[in-house]
Amino acid sequence: MLSAESLASIDREVAKYPADQKRSAVMAALRIALTERREQGQTPEARCLTPEVIEYVANYLEIAPVAAYEVATFYNMYDMKPVGKYKITVCTNLPCALSGGVSAAKYLSEKLGIAIGETTADGKYTLLEGECMGACGDAPVLLVNNHKMCSHMSPAAIDQKLAELE
């Protein structure tokens, strides 16, 4: 279900913990599984974590599937619902909101033609609101696909970013 490279990365994470504590690697393993699915998946449905993937990861770590499911559903960054090729998460918490975070989200929403929480019809973009990313000074900030942080996202910067993502 996962590629050899992904399994090798999971093994590297597992090696960081004592042999009988494989479950400690569950967050990393789910992240690796999600990254592979996002990169390989051709449809929004194929880019998120499904119960089958979670069960596979759990069995790989020799933990109960429901234990991995608890972790996968606890943290927002694990996509449990179909998601676009580019998941854009805009911070709208108070400090950001005071410095244009909300308008950045609004601008993106208008530009992509979708409301917050939705995915474009072509399955390319998903727009989400996020909580403080610890970069309030650089507001407005947004995250692309969990791992790429973009600061000072004025409308012009957003246009440029979207062009890059094309």
Binding site: P51, E55, A64, P65, V66, A67, Y69, E70, F74
Partner: protein, 775 residues
């Protein structure tokens, strides 16, 4: 020891104990939900907040270790305010549906809200709703809006059950308790989450909405299933058993029950209960009265003994019957001149009978077994044979017991296993002999058994090392070993290992009263064994609480023996298909819940109980039936007026403890491993006795699914089978088509196919050879 003070009372508490434990030790109650003495500490409900002097804010009693000089107030204003605050939070999302909640009247949330909460809530907003979940046929999780997220159920499955089947998904306001998507909760001890759940979120599916808790009367009893002898509280309304709960007994079942103990009561109320005596004549069954039925029995027994001699009659009894019943059955048989009586229908090897020196038992107390540093379990599918003992061993294996296994399948035990040796039934004797040889090499000394041809494997060496290193070591033989055709050799080898290594040994008594049956002499002793009575069929059989097609080692042969008999007299609580087919008289007897009696558990503990309801219909306690029969047969010594009188007579034969002895006076074993394809036929967890066989909820569980053939890789490949397709199984001239599944946990040459099921009743012996091909 630390000196502390709780509500002005001075006490000492051991280092490392918590405020909660200290409070309990002096009988001070602190309200709590998530705390449970047998589970890890989660400290997530916050109900147990107490004031601790010098601490800046209230502390959770369950998670606060005591320190020297600590002064605790459980009822101060600060504590009370904190508790009322937590209560208000807990009730924010809790539905006010107590009138229609099954937990109403026995709900900790209800009780604690009354005791520690405020009269009204300030919360006016909408409450959340959580969809119900499917946890299987035993545990209902329909109303999950009631859950207060104490996580007791989650911790139970993980810590006590050994596998986390329930989890808490999502976060904060969206938290939900659920099994993994599409799965049900399949543990053999799952029902305990119902007791643990402090609210009405998890309830008993078979019981829910049938009565209110306060309408029930509570009566003590003892579980009639496995050899543990779990203590029960049986709850009764209008002379009907409505449900069964655990009666805490730390030395036996702790505060738990296996699902078999908890849900089998449905079988007591089954439509298949026999309620009137029945006689078959003119090829049809006729209801009759006791007098006619008993006269018919007396005529039958006298007739067969006159025509064919007393030896032509055989008594098959059950280790699930009470001590009093078994005592009277054998007394009646022997007084009449019949020595063919046995409770061991499921066994196939009786060669050790002549060397027996006492009653077989565990060899120690249950607590001592769990405290042993090293334990070797031979031939036991622990989790299905002894669900609660397995859970106790699981806890012990976490605390450092080295658990060693010799078995015919590499079962998932969900516990830490130190070493295991998996061998086909044909190589099981050899496997145990390997351990003996390694023990002899470690300890020196000499075994009287010939071990020259035995090669010690690495696993056997590891097991031997463990047994010899542990300061206390115990060896126990499970039901698979006891039913095995070489049981006497397994027992002999075990005795030798124990003698040389200094370990103790015994058997995991498979039924509630196996030890009782041993003690009262309800086994061959001068007559035929159960095996002989089937191998050389008798003219007449008397069956006490026995269904030979399910309880026998070889169901096909057992049924054939019944069918050829001139008369079969069955004392039974159920009119099962088999009995209706081959029996001639059915005498309705009371199950354990409707008679006074006693069971002697695996550790030799006699536990007496009274009937909790009156017998149904015309059914009568078997001891009374046997007493009347004794009188009608003009036998002496059947003047009993009560079960207690029977008990005092049988106990007068000597102290129980003095008569328990597993050692054989002479031993022999052929240690060569044989080759071939052999069946591993085990009794499924919910097929052990007629009561659970008639309990619909247990029969609907995944553990009671229709039998399939699980097949070792070599046999599977040789037969050219494909996964899931039908295979043709042949045993003893009978054939059966069942789905075939490749099973990597089986040693070479093994086909695992359950016995004690209607689907496989046409087949032969549990551990006999079997053929399998594409079908």
């Amino acid at each position: 020891m630390l000196e502390i003070e709780i509500d002005g009372k001075k006490l000492t508490a051991p280092q490392g104990s918590t405020v909660m434990e200290a409070a309990h030790s002096i009988g001070t109650y602190i309200p709590h939900f998530c705390y449970h003495k047998k589970l890890s500490i989660a400290a997530n409900c916050r109900m147990c907040l107490v004031e601790v002097e010098k601490a800046p804010k209230p502390l959770p009693a369950c998670a606060t270790p005591v320190t020297d000089g600590m002064k605790i107030h459980t009822h101060s204003d600060l504590a009370k305010k904190a508790q009322a605050g937590v209560m208000e939070f807990l009730l924010i999302n809790h539905p006010l549906d107590c009138p229609i909640c099954d937990q109403g009247g026995e709900c900790q949330l209800q009780d604690i809200a009354v005791g520690y909460g405020n009269g009204a809530s300030r919360y006016q907003e909408e409450k959340r709703a959580v969809p119900g979940k499917d946890m299987g046929p035993l545990v209902s999780a329909e109303e999950m809006s009631r859950c207060i997220h104490c996580t007791r159920c989650v911790r139970f499955t993980e810590e006590i059950g050994g596998f986390q089947e329930i989890g808490m998904a999502h976060r904060g306001e969206f938290s939900e308790i659920l099994p993994f998507l599409g799965k049900t909760v399949n543990s053999e001890i799952s029902g305990n989450v119902i007791d643990l759940c402090p609210v009405g979120a998890l309830t008993s599916k078979p019981y829910r909405y049938s009565t209110r808790a306060w309408e029930l009367s509570r009566r003590k009893s003892v579980s009639p299933h496995d050899g543990l002898g779990a203590n029960l509280i049986v709850q009764v309304k209008h002379n009907e058993v409505m449900r069964v709960l655990p009666l805490e007994n730390e030395e036996i079942n702790e505060c738990w029950l296996a699902d078999r103990d908890r849900f089998s009561y449905q079988g007591l109320n089954s439509d298949a209960r026999l309620k009137t005596p029945k006689i078959k004549f003119d090829g049809r069954w006729h209801d009759t009265d006791w007098e006619t039925a008993l006269a018919y029995v007396v005529k039958g027994l006298n007739g067969v003994s006159a025509d064919h001699g007393k030896d032509a009659i055989g008594f098959l009894t059950s280790p699930h019957s009470t001590t009093e019943e078994l005592y009277l059955a054998q007394k009646l048989a022997r007084a009449f001149g019949i020595n063919n009586i046995d409770y061991r229908s499921a066994r196939s090897d009786f060669r050790a009978d002549a060397a027996k020196q006492g009653a077989e038992w565990l060899g120690s107390s249950i607590v001592e077994l769990a405290a042993a540093k090293s334990v070797l379990v031979i031939g036991s599918s622990l989790r299905s044979e002894q669900p609660l003992l397995a859970s106790r061993i699981r806890q012990a294996s976490k605390k450092g017991m080295a658990l060693n296994i010799i078995h015919v399948a590499d079962d998932e035990l969900l516990m830490n296993v130190h070493a295991k040796l998996i061998a086909s039934p044909l190589a099981l004797v050899n496997a145990v002999a390997q351990v003996l040889k390694a023990v002899v090499a470690i300890k020196g000394g000499d075994s009287t058994l010939d071990l020259a041809q035995v090669d010690v494997s690495a696993q056997a060496q590891a097991i031997a090392d463990s047994l010899c290193a542990g300061e206390t070591a115990r060896i126990v033989l499970g039901a698979v070993a006891q039913h095995h055709p070489a049981y006497s050799e397994l027992l002999a080898l075990t005795q030798e290992i124990a003698r040389i290594s200094g370990a103790g040994f015994g058997v995991l008594s498979e039924a509630a009263n196996s030890v009782g049956a041993e003690l009262v002499g309800a086994w061959a002793q001068g007559g035929m064994s159960a095996g002989e009575m089937i191998a050389s069929p008798r003219k007449a059989y008397v069956l006490l609480n026995t269904e030979p097609e399910f309880d026998g080692y070889n169901s096909a042969a057992s049924v054939a023996a019944m069918k050829q008999a001139a008369t079969v007299i069955a004392l039974t609580a159920y009119q099962s298909e088999g009995l209706l087919d081959y029996a001639d008289v059915l005498l309705p007897i009371a199950p354990f819940s409707e008679t006074a009696g006693s069971f002697i558990n695996m550790e030799g503990r006699l536990q007496a109980f009274n009937g909790v309801t009156k017998p149904q219909g015309e059914a009568r306690p078997a001891w009374k039936v046997l007493r009347v029969l004794g009188n009608m047969l003009s036998l002496d010594g059947f003047g009993f007026n009560s079960a207690e009188e029977v008990r005092s007579e049988l106990l007068a034969k000597g102290d129980i403890a003095q008569r328990l002895n597993n050692s054989l006076s002479s031993i022999a074993a052929n240690t060569a491993a044989k080759a071939g394809v052999v069946r591993v036929g085990e009794v499924p967890v919910y097929s052990t006795d007629a009561i659970c066989r008639h309990a619909p909820a247990l029969q609907a569980t995944a553990l009671a699914a229709a039998p399939v053939a699980r097949i070792a890789a070599d046999v599977f490949a040789a037969a050219g089978l494909a996964e899931g397709e039908l295979a043709l199984v042949k045993q003893g001239g009978a054939t059966l088509r069942v789905p075939a599944h490749l099973d990597a946990s089986l040693p070479a040459g093994v086909v695992r196919l359950a016995v004690a099921r209607a689907e496989t009743a046409m087949l032969g012996g549990m551990f006999d050879t079997i053929e399998i091909e594409r079908g």
